[in-house]
């Protein structure tokens, strides 16, 4: 049934349809609407689930780790400082191989205090062993949350579904909310590969000496390496039931493009408009929307950029001292596989608008540059404040 709902509500609907049994979260703008809705669904009995109130995000993640260890589907959501506070437990969740799903609404970190879109919070967690998927609209947020459980339970790794603050979390859009029956066909009841059982107790997470620790780490990496194939298979199943699907990347008008703009989330929507406008003016430009960030879909990116002369990556984040993070990852992925030079651009931090004309500015800057600048190029800066 198509309903006009917020991106936040789309996520909550998916969690409900996935029949999560435990939700634990600490509220933080702009994640709040997701957990408010889930708290309501838990308290009024719509969901047969327990909402565990906690005093911090660290405890929220610890609670869902406990729930998942007990063998049930668990969910949490966070943003920005909240996610940063979870950091220790993020490592624990992945190394414990628990299929937890989290919605993460990208928000800037302070100071200066800022509630708006900036991807640095989730990207700073790239080494924690979580699968990360960046979504661009309400429908995709719902669909990806459902698929995240399927994927997580196959590879035994936690999945972070990443949404843009406000542009997605707080925007109402028509969303096809699938029936429970269809969701049940796609997502079978959770059958954990291991769980804590008080009747047959054993230790989870016990000491791992040098003789075994390395193999455990290798196992996490192996699971990550199998994630792209698993995601593709999950996507196929999803498509067969719901008639729509996604993929690790989305290539738009890239086939004959000389220059491809790479973007993520809602920014890709703006870039799509700019690409169409530029194409109308005869520019050979395409768009590569990167959905999967961990594991980084190197082959899919390489494939999409085959024949492209330049790729210009638009980052709404900055790794200080290194620049835009998607650009770094793209550059690293293409270095051995071969591919076009990577031009790195940073724009729209802390919720600043990225307009179609800014995307055009990016395109023409990349087009005229003989070679990529050594550092990321910052677009849309107020020069009078940069002295």
């Amino acid at each position: 049934m198509t309903r006009v709902i917020e991106g936040s509500q789309a996520v909550a609907e998916a969690v409900k349809l996935a029949k999560a049994k435990v939700v634990s979260a600490y509220p933080i703008t702009p994640q709040t609407h997701i957990v408010e809705e889930l708290a309501r669904l838990c308290s009024d009995g719509t969901m047969d689930a327990r909402f565990i109130c906690v005093e911090s995000e660290h405890s929220a993640m610890a609670s869902v780790i406990g729930a998942a260890s007990g063998g049930v589907r668990a969910f949490t959501a966070s943003s920005s400082h909240g996610l940063a506070l979870m950091h220790e437990m993020l490592h624990w969740a992945s190394a414990a191989r628990l299929p937890i799903v989290m919605a993460e609404v990208n928000r800037a970190l302070g100071p200066g205090w800022n509630l708006w879109l900036d991807q640095t919070d989730s990207l700073a967690q790239r080494d924690t062993g979580w699968i990360q998927i960046y979504v661009s609209d309400g429908q995709e947020a719902l669909d990806t949350t459902l698929a995240a459980y399927r994927l997580a339970e196959i590879v035994n790794l936690p999945v972070m579904v990443v949404l843009d603050a406000f542009f997605l979390s707080h925007t109402y859009e028509p969303v096809d909310v699938p029936s429970q029956e269809d969701v049940d066909r796609f997502l079978p009841p959770y059958s954990p590969k291991f769980l804590l059982d008080t009747k047959a107790p054993y230790v989870l997470g016990e000491v791992a000496p040098p003789s075994v620790y390395m193999e455990m780490r290798r196992s996490i990496q192996s699971a990550m390496e199998s994630a792209p194939e698993a995601l593709e298979a999950v996507d196929e199943e999803f498509r067969s039931i719901f008639g729509r699907g996604y993929g690790p990347v989305e290539a738009y008008r890239c086939e004959d493009a000389d220059i491809v703009i790479a973007a993520t989330g809602t920014t890709a929507g703006t870039a799509r408009v700019a690409v169409d406008a530029l194409r109308d003016r005869g520019e050979k430009v395409g768009l590569l929307r990167i959905r999967l960030f961990r594991p980084f879909p190197a082959r899919a990116v390489h494939e999409a950029l085959r024949g492209t002369k330049k790729v210009a990556v638009l980052d709404r984040n900055c790794s200080f001292g290194a620049g835009g993070i998607f650009a770094q990852e793209t550059r690293a992925a293409l270095y051995n596989l071969g591919g076009p030079p990577v031009h790195s651009y940073i724009a729209g931090l802390g919720g600043r608008d990225v307009t179609p004309s800014l995307v055009e500015e990016l395109y023409f800057d990349a087009k005229k540059a003989a070679a990529p600048a050594p550092e990321s190029v910052w677009l849309g800066l107020r020069e009078e404040l940069c002295k």
Partner: protein
């Protein structure tokens, strides 16, 4: 669906997990303290003159176990349908929930349970014939009924001598029908009789009862209550009528109706009798004014009754003390002194003194005195010297020609209330039973043993060595509760007749709580001090070392089948901290 692709996917999963069971690791051996189910007493129960086990009653009621809940009340109180209507409910003032949002509606719940189910009296103790005593109780008011009920349950043979034509004493003749309908009272008297108690009506007792111990009588209980109303003590006070006498005539249907438009009638006093008399006179067509010498807030009557009287149209004239009554029947002047309230006196109430030159008078058609009463005859009072005085009764081992006499009811209690009278009768019954077993020297110790809580009164269950006897007498204070687990909610007392309508008839004013509402209100009780199976201890135990038996194991009405498994309990104390109601405590483990 093509499930094959995902099924064949081989995902590495090598985790840190022990290969052997950890059950052989008895972590309990590390502990130096351990949790103990240390059930404690609730402040409501300690405040209840009848020592009802309120947290347990409400726990049972909230689970829909109305019969079991009422059985628990009947363990301590033979007259729940009466107390549920007329008790001044000190339990609610003591309720720990009062400091969180609003006190639990204990009083309305007691009435609801009593009205909703017909539960038999608990079974009587079987005594060998040699131990079974024959006891005569004088008076069938709350104290007499209570003494007979508890003595009968302790296995003795009881008869009650009642001077009037019907049983109930003050409950029948002193409390108006609109507060305590006859039908409710009859049920309770029938329950007392069901234990084999014979009530002989129209049998006034005299001092010869004490002179004639023969006729196979082993003991006497004097529970006559007040027989002599106090006079106002002012010139012309012979013109005043006795308010209790008027209430009795009204209950018999013998009281006159007042003509419309007559002069107001004055009721002098501030207790429940004054308020009952005023509301009764209102229903008989009069225009009553309560005249009280202190401030309105000093009136000893139940606050809700005062509010109801005012709402129905009774007027209250505070700080006015009669100085004389002049005139004759039908047209008289009640001379009054304007009083001024001063500092608090020794009893905690503000003292009053006349304001010079501010005398005034009320023109009234009648004056009713409701200023207390005293014993009708001297023999009804305990003898000085030989009687052992207990908290609410007195016992004299030889007053009836060498046989024991117990004194109970209004003449031996400090606070005159129905519940205190019931408690007095119970205490007298326990005291006599103890006297039969241990002699007079053993009585005080047995009464002490029967106290259920610090500062509380005697409990039949504790005296009978029931499960409650194992509970600590220490009272759970508000700060002992874990308020994090208490959801705020509103109390309800049930509906009542609209005041304007209520004042037109003797129909019962309070309508009580319906069964569903009552169960919900009972669920507001925090069950201070007792386990109500909330499972917090088990949920939060990091060792999963709180064992729970299968549902239905143990006595569901009493013992929750939860116990710490000391093989694995490390003694961290989380269970005791997380217990919302203070029913767990930590104690040092013996080595």
């Amino acid at each position: 669906m093509k499930a094959s692709r995902l099924d064949s996917l081989n995902v590495s999963l090598f985790i840190s997990r022990s290969s052997a069971s950890t059950s052989s690791n008895k972590t309990g051996s590390w502990s130096f303290s351990r949790p103990r189910r240390a059930e404690r007493s609730a402040p409501c129960s300690a405040a209840c003159p009848c020592s009802e086990d309120i947290p347990r009653i409400e726990m049972l009621a909230s689970r829909g176990l109305a019969d079991e809940a009422l059985a628990s009340i009947l363990e301590e109180n033979p007259l729940p349908g009466t107390c549920g209507r007329v008790c001044f409910h000190p339990c609610e003032a003591a309720c720990n929930r009062g400091g969180i949002d609003e006190a639990v509606s204990v009083n309305a719940l007691e009435r609801s349970l009593s009205d909703a189910t017909v539960t038999a009296a608990p079974p009587a103790r079987k005594l060998p014939p040699s131990a079974r005593k024959k006891i005569t109780i004088i008076g069938s008011g709350p104290a007499g009924l209570s003494a007979a009920y508890f003595l009968a349950r302790l296995g003795h043979e009881c008869e009650i001598l009642e001077a009037s034509s019907a049983a109930g004493g003050l409950l029948r003749w002193g409390i108006p029908e609109y507060r305590l309908p006859s039908a409710a009272l009859e049920r309770e008297i029938a329950r007392v009789e069901s234990l084999g108690v014979r009530i002989r009506l129209g049998r006034p007792a005299g001092e010869d009862m004490l002179a004639e111990p023969s006729r196979g009588r082993d003991a006497v209980v004097i529970a006559t209550g007040h027989g002599r109303p106090s006079a106002l003590g002012v010139p012309g006070d012979e013109l005043a009528l006795d308010a209790l006498g008027m209430l009795a005539r009204s209950r018999r249907g013998e009281e006159r109706r007042f003509p419309r438009g007559g002069a107001p009638v004055a009721v002098v006093g501030g207790g429940n009798t004054a308020v009952d008399a005023a509301r009764t006179l209102l229903r008989l067509g009069a225009e009553p004014i309560i005249v009280y010498r202190r401030r309105r807030e000093d009136m000893p009557a139940i606050g809700a009754e005062i509010e109801a009287a005012l709402a129905e149209g009774v007027r209250i004239l505070p700080l006015a003390a009669p100085s004389a009554i002049e005139g004759s029947d039908g047209k008289m002047a009640l001379k009054l002194r304007r009083m001024r309230s001063g500092d608090a006196g020794a009893d905690g109430r503000a003292s009053v003194a006349p304001v010079p030159g501010e005398d005034f008078a009320l023109e009234v058609s009648a004056v009713y005195a409701a200023v207390g009463a005293s014993a009708a005859e001297r023999w009804m009072l305990p003898r000085e010297g030989s009687a052992l005085r207990l908290a609410r009764c007195a016992i004299d081992p030889t007053a009836a020609g060498g046989r024991p006499v117990a004194y109970a009811g209004d003449l031996t209690i400090g606070r005159e209330s129905v519940s205190d009278a019931i408690a007095s009768g119970k205490e007298a019954a326990i005291a006599l039973d103890a006297l039969f077993s241990f002699g007079i020297k053993g009585v005080a110790a047995e009464i002490e043993r029967a106290l259920a809580a610090d500062g509380g009164s005697a409990s039949m269950e504790a005296y009978s060595r029931g499960p409650r006897a194992t509970r600590s007498r220490a009272i759970v204070k508000a700060e002992d509760l874990n308020a994090d687990y208490i959801e705020r909610s509103r109390r309800a007392n049930g509906r009542a007749l609209e005041s304007a309508k209520a004042a037109l008839s003797f129909a019962e004013v309070e309508c009580g709580l319906g069964p569903a509402e009552a169960a919900a209100q009972a669920g507001r009780c925090l069950n201070c001090g007792i386990c109500n199976d909330c499972d917090n201890c088990r949920t939060f135990c990091p060792e999963a070392a709180v064992d729970v038996g299968p549902p239905g194991s143990g006595d569901p009405a009493w013992t929750s089948p939860r116990a710490p498994n000391l093989d694995y309990c490390k003694g961290c104390g989380i269970c005791a901290t997380e217990c919302p109601r203070g029913a767990l405590s930590m104690e040092e483990a013996s080595s």
